[in-house]
Amino acid sequence: MKIIHTADICLDRCYAEQGLPAATGRANRVHLRECLEKILKRAQAWPADAVLITGNLLNGEAVERDTVAFLRNIFEDVAPIPILISPGRHDPYTPTSPYATELWPENVHFFRGPEWERYAVGTLAIYGFGHANRSLPKNPFESLHISEEDSTCIFMGPALAASLVKGEYTTGAVVDPAVLADPRIAYVALGHLARATEIDTGAGPVTWYAGAPEGARFGDTGPHHYLEITIADEGETSQAVDVDPVVTSEGRFYEMTLDCTDLESGQALLDAIRPHLAAQPDRQCARIVLEGALLPAIYDEMSSIREALSEDVLYLDLIDRCFVAENYAALAEQKTSLGAFVARINQEIHDAPDEHRRAALCRSRDLALCGYRGQHLPIRASQGD
């Protein structure tokens, strides 16, 4: 049997937390659709016997109608391959959920509640559950039951592996490898983690998180996958399970921090950043944090630098945390108002209770110096518009 496993796609995801503008968010949402399309095309071409989506196919009930129409179309295109969907915390099967209110093709099946439901794909039995609300009334894994007639089965659903639970976790399902001791269980398809991760179950069944096929935030660097699972019967109740993580994306988000202290010019700054962006064309959303001392001349070129870098990526978040390169110690020793100002604010910076205050004081210092010198410093908030 050939199974494709993916999860946490979160179509119509909102990128407000990442600070992405609407146009970039829109492009990313289109990209998510393309990822799913790519997975389903593979399912059709392979061909897979079933496609498992373990949780959070959608990002909440506020999903757009054209997204639902898109899903219906692509699911229908791969018919009769069954698409088995476990609604997760973010897309529970509520009466007003698109899962309940829309018409889905015949090959789409939703596991509508926290009770295990059996779905047969040939000789393979797939047991699945789903969220009917954000939290589960009980842990489904505490009441596993396999039908007598099943020789090979898969369990699927959004759950957290017990080894990953920190503290008290009562809102979702928790899977303990000890529970999965039945040899008829060939594979456990989980959803909840962002990265494709195999869970060590000891002698238990192969258990994987498929991970999301694309990153969702700037911290999510690195490749993303979906899983191709091949299950071959080796005996009456034993199987050979081979899981092949397939890269869907090298990572759409990228983040780096650059110390600008030794940079002599705007070109040097560009040269320091560009290789990182060019390394992976997938990196379309880049956040570059500039720190350290930045020469005033480079400040003057900042808008050109931003413009040049923006040509390489879809979205660039250039965060300026630099301070103007100056010999503040020498300035503080001047017997002038400027010197007295620098001395005083240097002390305040030194005594700043937190980084936020420190950064604000550094900025005040830079602004004052430019004021004393009659120089212009770009207003920071205009950057990134």
Binding site: E17, A22, D66, N327, L338, L361, A381
Partner: protein, 1054 residues
């Protein structure tokens, strides 16, 4: 610090040039363009380098400008300096940017100590700042002092400019701006952000946009709920559609069962029909002999039989008609045979027409003759009447050829004469009135000025005397006033003297009494003194009194003189004027002269008026005399015309009446002529009419004779000679008419008879034809009679009916079976086997129910589709909520950044202000004190106080007023302003000294506007500074050099 020497290996114009600076005041003298600025620049470059700032290895322009002229490859040099603590250092540099090098050596130990100093990012060493305690900017702006002229600073607000420079030095070391400038920049930044609430600024705009997005989000969220509701509704519709489809399927199954029952029923019916068909077939066979008989032929045959019957009946009728006609003709033949059939001719219409026309004409002629005779008589009567009227009128033909025009002219000329007379008299009356008015107007003036033709001369003399009088009077009055003033003064003094003198005498008496009578010692002197004083006051009082008396006399004299001043004393002509003024009650000679002028003017006008009046009197008289003459003449004339004139006012009316009378006369004459011509015409007409009447009578007689002759010849009537011709003609015509009627009837009957005979022949033919036709129709069927035909026809009907019945049954069977054959239906019924319970209702009802379900399903589907469209449209009409959230997040971030930026700016401003306030408060008094001392020395005490406010505003105490003046430059010379500037700069440098190493001062000809004295004083001051600061003075002036030499300064000449 003191600069010992410099060695310029290659620097500008200098190559391998070494200069040693003496301690104390060093003057470097050289004309312009000799390198003084180059040396100064070299010193600064050696100490601090040629970079723009500490953080970038970017060279200043001077790096290019100061390249050696000779291009010997060496661009650099060395500088040896000594710190206040005695340590000496040498710095060696190569300024070539490709071979840049800096080395610092400790001259005391000879070791290189380059590595002991911090190296900046621009590769410069920190030794300059470390040893001097000043940054490059501060050093350049404080240690280097040039002269300041008002031309540089501007003619006005020079001290403000100096203040700005001081502030720049205090705030930023002079290299940049002041705190005020910085605050302005930062304020602009705050304003640009929009922290102050300006609605057009980025921050306010961001807030506004955010609110709009929040509103949009709420709206979209509400829309989502509505969408969710619609989605549920749609889902419900889908569910209902599904149920409807299920119901439809059930109904269709029931319909199928019913149809199977229907098949069974149909089969039964179809079998019965088949049996009936067989029966009909047997009947057809029995009547097959009549199968070819067409029933339609029966109609034709019957029609032929009817046609034959009709033809026979028609023939009978026609024969009967003929018989009747024969009888009538025989009757008419008898009637015709009783009258002689003589053919009489018609009376000629010509004779009758001419006769009637002629008779009518003769009657008309007689009538016209009678009318014409009446007209002739009337014309004669009128002629008599007019003749009598003319006899009663005057004979105007003897008056004039055109009496009307003549009479009109007469009346017009009289009117003109009357008008002329009236005008002349009116004008005369007006002139008289004007003369009277003017005389009245000038009466008073005449009384006043009559006899004084020389009044103008008198007036001039009078005015002159008056001015003289006024002058004298004024003079006397002034004298009097002065005397009175003096008198009053003396009087006042005198009043005081007497009591004082009295008192003193009293004291003397008392003291004397006390001495002499009471033997009180020591009273002699007071007595003497009091007595003396009293005597003095008394004497003074007496003197005053005498003076007052004299003054009084003089006052009297002055009054007398004043009163005696008279205008016209002894001048008779002036008396005349006075009398005039009095009489006229005028106040001044000017008014009198004005009155005189007016009098003269009126007199002149009066004279003119009188002359005109005389002339006008003559004209008026002449016009008045002419009127009666004219009137008399007109009376004679009008009498001839039969009119009397009552008076001059009646002339026009009389003329009108005469003209009217003449017109009447003329009209009467005209009427007489007209009547005569009418009479002639009527008489001529009468004669002609009588002639015509005679001719007409002759014609009538001839025609009557002709008519009688004709009638007699025809023999139809007997001619009665007593009858008129017309009566005879009428009788003849009546007889002819009767004859024609009889003949007409006979002819008509004969004609009808012939027609009937022809008709009988035709009808016989017709009858024969119909009979033959009928036989022909029957023969094909083998019958020769109608009866045989009827029997055959009955059989044919039976056959036809059987055929039709069979056909009908076959059609019904086909309709019943439809597309099935009987066998197929039987097979189907057998295949269906036993049927279940029969569904209720009929097939039609089920079909209707299915249709109803289909309609309902269609409606629900349509509704679902519409809802789906609405859902799609509504969801497409709003933006995705995630996009709105993303935009909100971007705005939040922007707002946070702007607010942080604004807060950082505001904090910087507050801190800058605070620091500047403290700095200025610290610097100002010290600087002011130091500068005041230096200024006093420079100006030799002339200006000894400079006051600096907290904002370093400069006030100087002005010696003339001893006031601290805010804008002293308005009263200070250029040189003094320069000196104030120099004092402040020197004081500033001194203030820097207090906290650090002594600063070598490089003065660049600062004494441009100093005079010799101040130059000497300043030079002494400057040389006095050298105890703390090295002073290197660059100048191109010999007087400065001389002043320096006077202070034992060392001179280097370039």
């Amino acid at each position: 610090m003191r600069i010992r020497s410099i060695t310029m290996r290659g620097y500008g114009r200098f190559a391998d040039r070494e200069i040693h600076f003496a301690p104390g005041l060093q003057i470097v003298m050289g004309p312009n363009e000799r390198g003084k600025s180059t040396i100064r620049s070299f010193i600064a470059d050696m100490l601090y380098g040629q970079k723009v700032n500490d953080t970038q290895r970017v060279f200043e322009e001077s790096n290019e400008l100061r390249k050696p002229w000779d291009g010997n490859g060496h661009y650099g040099g060395s500088l040896v300096y000594e710190l206040d603590d005695g340590r000496a250092f040498e710095v060696v540099r190569n300024f070539d940017r490709h071979h840049e090098k800096i080395q610092v050596f400790d001259h005391t130990t000879g070791e290189e100590i380059t590595g002991n100093f911090k190296r900046f990012r621009n590769r410069e060493l920190d030794f300059g700042r470390q040893h001097l305690g000043l940054s490059k900017d501060v050093f350049l702006n404080t240690a280097t002092i040039s002269h300041v002229t008002l031309d540089e600073l501007g003619d006005r607000e020079a001290l403000d400019e100096i203040r700005e420079k001081l502030l720049a030095l205090t705030d930023t070391g002079g290299g940049s701006g002041t705190v005020d400038c910085a605050m302005r920049l930062l304020s602009e930044r705050v304003a640009a952000i929009g922290m102050s609430g300006a609605t057009s600024k980025p921050l306010a705009q961001a807030h506004r946009n955010l609110r709009a997005l929040e509103a949009e989000y709420r709206s979209v969220a509400e829309g989502r709920e509505e969408l969710a509701t619609m989605a549920l509704e749609r889902r419900a519709l889908v569910e209902r559609c599904r149920k409807l489809r299920e119901e439809r399927a059930r109904q269709e199954a029931a319909l199928t069962t019913l149809e199977q029952y229907g098949d069974q029923e149909r089969l039964t019916e179809a079998v019965a029909m088949q049996e009936q068909i067989d029966e009909a077939t047997r009947q057809c066979l029995a009547c097959s002999h009549a199968r070819d008989v067409s029933l339609e032929r029966d109609n034709e045959i019957r029609a032929a039989r009817e046609a034959l019957q009709t033809a026979e009946r028609q023939l009978e009728n026609t024969l009967a008609q003929k018989e009747s006609l024969d009888g009538r003709l025989r009757q008419e033949g008898h009637a015709d045979g009783e009258s002689p059939s003589r053919t009489a001719a018609e009376f000629p219409a010509r004779i009758e027409k001419e006769l009637s026309e002629t008779l009518a004409n003769r009657v008309q002629l007689n009538e016209r003759i009678a009318e014409t005779e009446a007209l002739v008589q009337t014309a004669r009567d009128r002629i008599d009447e007019v003749r009598k009227q003319l006899e009663e009128m005057p004979d105007f033909s003897r008056l004039a050829a055109d009496p009307v025009e003549w009479l009109s002219q007469l009346a017009s000329s009289f009117s003109v004469a009357l008008r002329a007379r009236d005008e002349e008299c009116t004008l005369r009356a007006e002139l008289r009135a004007e003369v009277a008015t003017l005389e009245k107007k000038n009466r008073e003036s005449r009384r006043l000025f009559e006899g004084h033709d020389d009044f103008p001369e008198l007036a001039r003399e009078y005015a002159l005397q008056l001015r003289l009088h006024d002058s004298q009077k004024e003079q006397h009055a002034s004298t009097l006033h002065s005397l009175q003033g003096t008198y009053t003064e003396l009087q006042g003094e005198a009043r005081a003297f007497l009591p004082i003198g009295g008192a003193c005498m009293a004291v003397a008496l008392v003291t004397g009494g006390a001495h002499f009578f009471a033997s009180v010692g020591g009273m002699i002197v007071p007595m003497g003194v009091a007595g003396l004083v009293g005597l003095i006051f008394v004497a003074m009082w007496a003197t005053h009194r005498s003076h007052m008396q004299r003054l009084n006399d003089r006052i009297e004299d002055a009054r007398e003189a004043l009163g005696s001043v008279s205008k016209s004393a002894g001048n008779p002509s002036l008396k005349v004027i006075d009398d005039m003024l009095r009489d006229s009650r005028l106040d001044s000679i000017r008014e009198l002269e004005a009155v005189h002028d007016q009098y003269r003017s009126v007199e002149l006008e009066l004279k003119l008026r009188r002359e005109r009046l005389v002339s006008q009197e003559e004209k008026a008289l002449e016009a008045e005399e002419r009127i009666p003459l004219l009137l008399e003449r007109f009376r004679e004339t009008f009498t001839k015309a039969g009119e009397e004139i009552a008076g001059e006012g009646d002339v026009q009316d009389a003329a009108g009446r005469a003209i009217a009378r003449y017109q009447e006369y003329r009209e009467t004459k005209r009427r007489a002529t007209t009547n005569r011509s009418v009479l002639e015409r009527h008489e001529t007409e009468l004669s002609r009419l009588k002639t015509l009447a005679e001719q007409s009578a002759a014609v009538v007689t001839a025609l009557e004779e002709e008519a009688r002759t004709f009638i007699a010849e025809q023999g139809l009537l007997d001619v009665d000679p007593k009858q008129s011709a017309q009566e005879l003609i009428a009788d003849y015509r009546s007889a002819m008419t009767r004859k024609r009627e009889v003949h007409g009837r006979q002819e008509l009957l004969e004609e009808n008879l012939r027609d009937l005979q022809r008709q009988i022949a035709r009808e016989q033919e017709e009858r024969d034809a119909r009979a033959a036709e009928l036989k022909g129709l029957l023969r094909p069927f083998g019958v020769d009679s109608i009866d045989g035909w009827d029997a055959l026809l009955a059989d044919a009907r039976v056959y036809q009916e059987a055929v039709q019945e069979r056909r009908r049954l076959e059609e019904a069977s086909l309709e019943l079976l439809g597309t099935d054959s009987l066998a197929a239906l039987q097979a189907r019924v057998e295949h269906a086997g036993a049927l279940g319970e029969r569904p209720e209702g009929t097939r039609e009802a089920l079909r209707e129910a299915i249709n109803h379900l289909n309609e309902k399903l269609e409606a629900e589907t349509s509704q679902e589709h519409a809802l789906h469209v609405r859902l799609t449209e509504q969801s497409n009409s709003t933006r995705p909520m995630c996009e709105i959230e993303e935009e909100q997040a971007v705005l939040h971030r922007k707002i946070r950044a702007l607010e942080a930026e604004g807060e950082a700016t505001s904090y910087a401003m507050a801190l800058m202000e605070d620091v500047a306030r403290d700095t200025h408060a610290y610097v100002a008094p010290r600087l002011a004190e130091e500068a005041s001392g230096l200024l006093a020395k420079i100006t030799d005490g002339t200006y000894d106080e400079i006051s600096l406010g907290r904002d370093l505003s400069i006030r100087v105490r002005i010696p003339e007023t001893q006031h601290l003046q805010d804008a002293p430059e308005k009263s200070l010379s250029q040189g003094t302003v320069d000196q104030i500037y120099l004092a402040l700069r020197l004081a500033f440098v001194q203030s820097l000294n207090e906290s650090g190493e002594g600063i070598p001062m490089l003065l660049d000809d600062p004494f441009a506007n100093y005079d010799d004295k101040r130059l000497a004083t300043t030079m002494a001051l400057v040389s006095g500074l050298v105890g703390r600061n090295q002073v290197i003075l660059f100048t191109c002036r010999d007087d400065v050099v001389a002043a320096g030499e006077a202070q034992s300064a060392s001179i280097i000449r370039l």
